[in-house]
Amino acid sequence: MSGQGLSAVGVEAVGMTMRFGGFTALEDVTVRVPAGSFHALLGENGAGKSTLVKCMMGFYRPTSGQMLVEDREATIDSPRDAASFGLGMVYQHFTLVPSLTGAENLVISREKVPAVIDWRRERKDLATFMETMPFRLPLDVPVRELAAGEKQKLEIVKQLYLGRRFLVLDEPTSVLTPGEAEEVLGIVRGMTEAARLTVLMISHKFPEITAFADDFTVLRKGRLTGSGKVADHDRKAMAAMMIGDQPIATLDQRKPVAPDAAPVLEVKGVKAPDRSGLKSIEIADLTIRSGEIVGIAGISGNGQKEFFEILAGQRPPETGAIAVKSKAYGASRRESRALNVRYIPEEPLRNACAPRMTVAENMAFRTFDLDSEGRPARWISAGAIRRFAADLVARFKVKTASLASPIQSLSGGNVQRAVLARELTGRVDLLIVANPCFGLDFSAVAEIRARIMKARNEGAAVLLISEDLDELLELSDRILVMSDGALVYETPIATASVQTIGEHMAGHH
């Protein structure tokens, strides 16, 4: 049962193309991972990394393309097929059963588990198996008592125990501390050097790639944009392949920011706990003036979500002050209405809409409690809501079968158009936007960016939190980088360099 005596396998994916309907997620990508090598797969969110490894592991059936294992054609139609070739995957999040011990987790994960388990024999076998590992793990305590690094090691041990000799690691260090990350990757590196294992690691952290990987492949928007030996490339070159180094497009209708433009949003010394409650978000000083777009760049999970929640009043800060137009601001409905503050959260269907309510009702969320003169109203009129929505649907070109359709029946781009229509009508002084174009098609993206630029030109201060650097470079007047819960770098757009920004995003400097 154990992986003793087995050696690493080489894997090659040739000409992988994956289309979902009209959308091409992956186009003609070839990756060669020789036996015993440590290969890094790089790319921004949505670049096609997950699609590629899912095709390789049999979760998806690629539209076209071929898998080679040890230079022989391999038909991999399911994860089970992948397993039979010795291919395995370690996910970003743990898949162990927390209440069971390490030993129990290993034994039950086997494909064939006897109806009655002879635990004494299993323990002896496991002990022999663990002898072959370059590190020790406590296998007799429940997994929930293990530290994150130990869990990640156990995930890797599990794959070896199941006889896998090629492993895909999906951002394996995203849940680890830097120390743990270094230890786990060091162990994996040792195993590849001992030719026990071949590794393909998805990552966007440059330090760990330069320290541990042999080769790399970069994807961008579903295409291969670079590959080679890590030793022959510096981080700047890899960042350029990942982000693209086309000239920064300035929308020609961008008006210059007036030198005396009034500050609209001021955030000073704000501190709040993050999701895990272990780290904190600290925004020392951020001012956004009327008529400028300030972009916040950063890799997902560095505190951007929490920052949005602080500004939207969903996460009360422990200390610090937020002011809008020099007035203390707590994000109540009354305050946001009086100061013309609007929010466009990421994933609009999940965060800005009630999916089962109708398109018309969703478009009325901001104004249902006002009468036609803008005074507070206690009675709502279905007719007025419908007329209001019909007008917005026409002006913002929202494609919907009917105003009475539930908003969840709309495509992602049209949900976002409906939300923009709701939030961008009337006077806007401060607009706070998060990942507005994530997962949308190109035409919707262009239109939504134009709407944001238009709001800016009409005098709104815009805070744009985005994981898409292209978007930030296209829209922002200034770019700040958020890393580990703090704003660590700031540059005006004129001197913005994707390389420098990318390095700050990756936690370098």
Binding site: R333, E335, C353, R356, F365, A404
Partner: protein
């Protein structure tokens, strides 16, 4: 945006969107009755006789209709105690607790105000019962929103506490020494008793229940509070980003729901029992859960559903006598219908006929 070809197509679409909420519960009800028929066949009884007796016992004569209407009255109010929080996404199943506390509060107020004008006494009893129920279910909402306590569990457990409290008051501080066999509170002033609707053997509680359903419907469909509650119930994150005060909405709707359930307790005391005793914990709070789910938490739909369930309830005695079925038969039937209703939840949105958005492939 595709324009509809004719007004009739628009009407068909309108009908289709609303038909689902009617057809699916009806189908679930029928499946529940069929499942119960199988159960009867195993007992060697005739399902046809059962349905015939149910009809006769619930709706077959003026007498049985009046019986049904009387039983429907508390169901209307106790169903609102489930339906209103459900519009905010809360599953509250402890209406029974608000009913019994409402009953005790009403009996205490009715005894304390003996001799006052009838109007004052009745209004005071109503307000006392609503306050007690509002406090109880409002607390459930507050625990849920501010302390993240699961409202389903807490409301159920609080119902047990409420029943224990009622027993304490009825057997202790509020006990009428004259009530020997069945501990009860002092009887309320007979002037405060709620009488029958003229020409019927049905008390005014039925009208109170129907008015409460209509008010709830207007609140949810026509006011900005109701709209805000629907947003919060549809997606609490979206409501928060819109700056809506989700906490006060949840507590407020729960308190109103509890107030209606408390009113049901007051009506039990003022129209039926004349004082508060263990009989007011008659299970209306639990049947109300079934009524609300069958009505898909639509306050207006609660009215016909409560009549239907009241009818089934009213036929219980007849079933017992004619078919030799045990007393709990009606509860078994209700349980089966409830299970099928819960299963039917998975079918919403699955049928093309009810979903005009699937009628034409859009690009």
């Amino acid at each position: 945006m595709s324009e509809r070809a004719s007004p009739s197509a628009g009407a068909v679409e309108w009908l289709a969107r609303r038909a689902e909420a009617f057809v699916l519960p009806l189908a679930a009800l029928i499946v529940g009755l069929l499942a119960f028929s199988v159960f009867l066949l195993f007992l060697g009884k005739s399902p046809l006789q059962l349905f015939e007796l149910m009809w006769r016992g619930g709706f077959g004569s003026w007498f049985s209709v009046q019986n049904t209407l009387s039983r429907a009255a508390p169901l209307l109010l106790s169903a609102l105690c489930v339906a209103l929080p459900a519009r905010l996404g809360l599953v509250v199943i402890g209406g029974e607790g608000a009913i019994v506390l409402g009953g005790v509060a009403a009996a205490a107020a009715g005894y304390a105000l003996s001799g006052a004008p009838a109007f004052v006494g009745i209004v005071a009893m109503g307000l006392a019962s609503m306050a007690a129920g509002a406090l109880w279910i409002g607390a459930v909402g507050a625990l849920r929103h501010y302390r993240a306590v699961n409202e389903t569990i807490s409301s159920l457990l609080m119902a047990y506490i409420a029943i224990a409290l009622m027993n304490h008051f009825v057997e202790g501080p509020l006990r009428d020494p004259a009530s020997l066999n069945k501990p009860s509170t002092h009887p309320i002033d007979p002037a405060f008793a709620i009488g029958d609707i003229p020409g019927m053997d049905v008390h005014w509680g039925l009208v109170v229940g129907i008015v409460a359903c209509v008010i709830s419907s207007i609140l949810i469909e026509k006011t900005s509070w109701g709209f805000a509650a629907r947003i919060a119930g549809g997606n609490v994150r979206a409501a928060q980003v819109q700056g809506l005060a989700v906490g006060p909405l949840i507590v407020g709707f729960c308190a109103l729901a509890g107030g209606f359930a408390g009113l049901a307790g007051m009506i039990e005391v003022a129209a039926v029992q004349g004082n508060a005793n263990a009989s007011i914990a008659a299970g209306y709070g639990y049947t109300g859960i079934l009524v609300a789910f069958l009505a898909r938490h639509n306050p207006l739909a609660i009215i016909p559903v409560a009549l239907l369930l009241g009818g089934i309830d009213a036929s219980g005695g007849l079933l017992q006598r004619r078919m030799g079925l045990p007393d709990a038969t009606v509860q078994v039937l209700q349980g089966m219908i409830f299970l099928v209703i819960l299963f039917s939840e998975t079918f919403y949105g699955r049928f093309k006929a009810f979903n005009p958005d699937l009628w034409q492939r859009r690009r």
